[in-house]
């Protein structure tokens, strides 16, 4: 087993960038430039890693030279590398948005370092092969995102941050408790070794309890039904680039954890977990879509929409067959691009208002005074979210529905298809409110310059490309990923344990 330095690069680059940005706290412009550069380098590492994983199989890096299962090991299998690639790509867009943003909180010297630390947490959670390191990474991500929301320009950011840190710390505590239970019964924290032990059919009596605790922690991180109530507040009040990250990739950490639970760690219990996830997903779809329909704030509407979209992914995991898992991962991948682009676009709209808000009462008709490109981008994003061809949302819906047809679960399939119409309704309503209606007297006063729309423009372009030219490579890549996920021996042997080790 050889060490692959790309893994360390993807993880260490944002960390070094955060330190450099903190050192250059005097010049805000330098900090932002360091942020974009670091994000770009980390993206290159992650892209290289994704290519290598698909060429040569699972890549590992034993930290400090301690070989698994004794040392901490970084592992990039097909799923981890794909999610790390997704995270770093969206992060580049977020940092680009920060570069041209006029929010007051962006001028604080801690903003860019915290942003980069959030990236360290995200990438770390997806590339680690060790449960305790997963806990550390998730806690790092939570602390960074809470601090970023607490300093938001929105005066309610503080309250949302308090709400989130209390509930999320509770989730982290349960994660730690689950990890402790695993260690008490299995004597290891290495995910490959745990998987290997549990595959032999041995069932220590704390293992199912540990599975449920880990599941609760992951559900809480991705704001699924019984644990969702903090999510709309937190995602609405965060600064624009942060809420774009929270709603697109931070919730995917929980989804990633659930994928790991049902395909690597607890394969025998997976059937029960999947039944539960399917039900929670359907509840999420219905309540999230209806919640998005009744809100009067564009950012809040998108936060509720995330609640619904995570539901689609969970229903895909709940169906559990190969096609449905492909659908779920394609959905998770595409949703990250669409949702971050839409939240950034709404942030651009809000940045033109006198008091920065995306409330429909303040932004109604505002779009008629803005560049027409903005309106087209919002419309494209909305259609993509609803799954209208030829955008990438259609590919994800199609893949998911194929999985459902294969599974024969018609009741849930009808809900999934019908919820697509609800998505179309609330997105078109938001577009009409902002870009079609006559401006209100209160919206006559606008700021002359708003945020730049380079980052959302790039993201929407990627959405278009993913839906057309790159649709087939993407689906093939993810089919290959799922093929590797369905065989946990590949992961175990890749870490150097199991039969090959």
């Amino acid at each position: 087993m050889t060490d692959n330095a790309l893994l360390l690069g993807a993880l260490a680059t944002p960390l070094i960038g955060a330190i450099l940005a903190l050192l250059s706290a005097r010049s805000n412009q330098t900090q932002r430039a360091i942020g974009v550069a670091t994000g770009g380098i980390a993206w290159m590492f992650a892209a290289g890693l994704l290519a290598q994983v698909h060429e040569y199989g699972v890549q590992t890096y034993a930290l400090g030279g301690w070989q698994p299962p004794y040392g901490i090991v970084l592992v990039a299998d097909a799923l981890g590398a794909l999610f790390a690639f997704m995270v770093t790509t969206i992060m580049v867009a977020g940092l680009l948005y920060t570069y041209h943003c006029h929010d007051k909180c962006m001028t604080y010297p801690a903003f860019v370092p915290l942003f980069l630390l959030m990236e360290v947490g995200l990438v770390g959670a997806m590339l680690t092969g060790d449960l305790f390191t997963l806990f550390i990474s998730m806690e790092l991500m939570v602390l960074a995102s809470v601090s970023l929301t607490a300093i938001s320009d929105d005066q309610f950011g503080l309250e949302a941050a308090l709400k989130y840190i209390l509930i999320s710390s509770m989730g982290t505590l349960f994660l730690l408790l689950g990890i402790a239970a695993m260690y008490a019964t299995l004597g290891t924290l290495n995910m490959a070794e745990i998987a290997q032990t549990l595959l032999t059919g041995e069932r220590p009596f704390l293992a199912p309890a540990a599975a449920l605790m880990l599941l609760c922690a992951f559900l809480l991180k991705s704001a699924v039904f019984p644990f969702h109530f903090w999510q709309p507040d937190f995602h609405t009040t965060a600064p624009t680039p942060i809420s774009a990250m929270l709603s697109s990739i931070v919730v995917k950490v929980g989804v990633y954890g659930i994928f790991r639970l049902v395909t690597l760690l607890f394969i025998e219990e997976a059937f029960l977990l999947e039944r539960l996830l399917g039900v929670l997903g359907v509840i999420g779809i219905v309540f999230g879509s209806l919640g998005a329909l009744r809100t009067y704030n564009a950012k809040r509407m998108l936060a509720y929409s995330t609640f619904a979209q995570i539901g689609f992914i969970l229903v895909g995991i709940g169906w559990g067959n190969t096609l449905a898992l492909v659908g779920a991962i394609v959905y998770a991948f595409n949703h990250a691009f669409i949702k971050s682009a839409l939240l950034m676009l709404m942030g651009v709209v809000a940045s033109y208002t006198k008091i920065k808000t995306a409330d429909f009462a303040h932004v109604r008709g505002l779009g008629t005074k803005l560049p027409p490109l903005l309106g087209w981008l919002v419309l494209l994003g909305g259609l993509s979210l609803a799954g209208v061809p030829p955008l990438n949302g259609f590919i994800s819906k199609l893949a998911l529905i194929q999985g459902g047809v294969d599974n024969g679960d018609w009741a849930n399939l009808i809900i999934v298809v019908a919820a697509g119409i609800l998505t179309l309704m609330y997105m078109i309503r938001a577009w009409q409110q902002i870009f079609q209606q006559a401006p209100l007297p209160s919206t006559t006063e606008t700021k002359p310059v708003g945020d730049s729309m380079v980052a959302p423009f790039l993201l929407i372009s990627i959405c278009l490309l993913l839906g057309t030219i790159f649709a087939e490579p993407l689906v093939q890549l993810i089919s290959e990923t799922v093929r590797q996920m369905m065989n946990p021996q590949i992961y175990i042997a890749g870490v150097g344990l199991g039969n090959g080790g």
Binding site: V146, M170, R300
Partner: protein, 114 residues
């Protein structure tokens, strides 16, 4: 006997922690959060502490005496640092909230309504 006392202590700390976390007073909730974290750290220690009586020194291991597991102690050192970080962040947020809202009663910190 010591195992039983340990389990009892963890249980009591868990109870107190959850009760405090659900209080209306935000400072008490923050303290409950710290207590809960100590309970889980103790649980982690208990996972490896009773494998042997002697401390995990190399001389003891070489002499073949059963030692306690050193890994859990290294792990909870990290967990204590993490809990300290998040506890201080919670207290910092509560501090600013107490200045901005003039109260730490969570029933009055409810401006976030739509």
């Amino acid at each position: 006997m010591i195992e039983f006392m340990f389990a009892l202590a963890i249980g009591i700390l868990f109870g107190i922690g959850v009760f405090q976390l659900l209080r209306r007073d935000l400072i008490k909730a923050a303290i409950g959060f710290a207590i809960l974290f100590s309970a889980i750290n103790l649980f982690f220690v208990a996972a490896g502490a009773f494998e042997g009586e002697s401390p995990p020194y190399l001389s003891n291991v070489q002499a073949g005496r059963p030692t306690s597991d050193p890994l859990v102690q290294a792990l909870i050192l990290t967990a204590i640092v993490v809990s300290f970080g998040s506890f201080s962040l919670v207290l910092g947020i509560v501090n600013i909230i107490s200045k901005r809202y003039d109260t730490v009663d969570s029933n009055d910190v409810t401006q976030l309504k739509h």
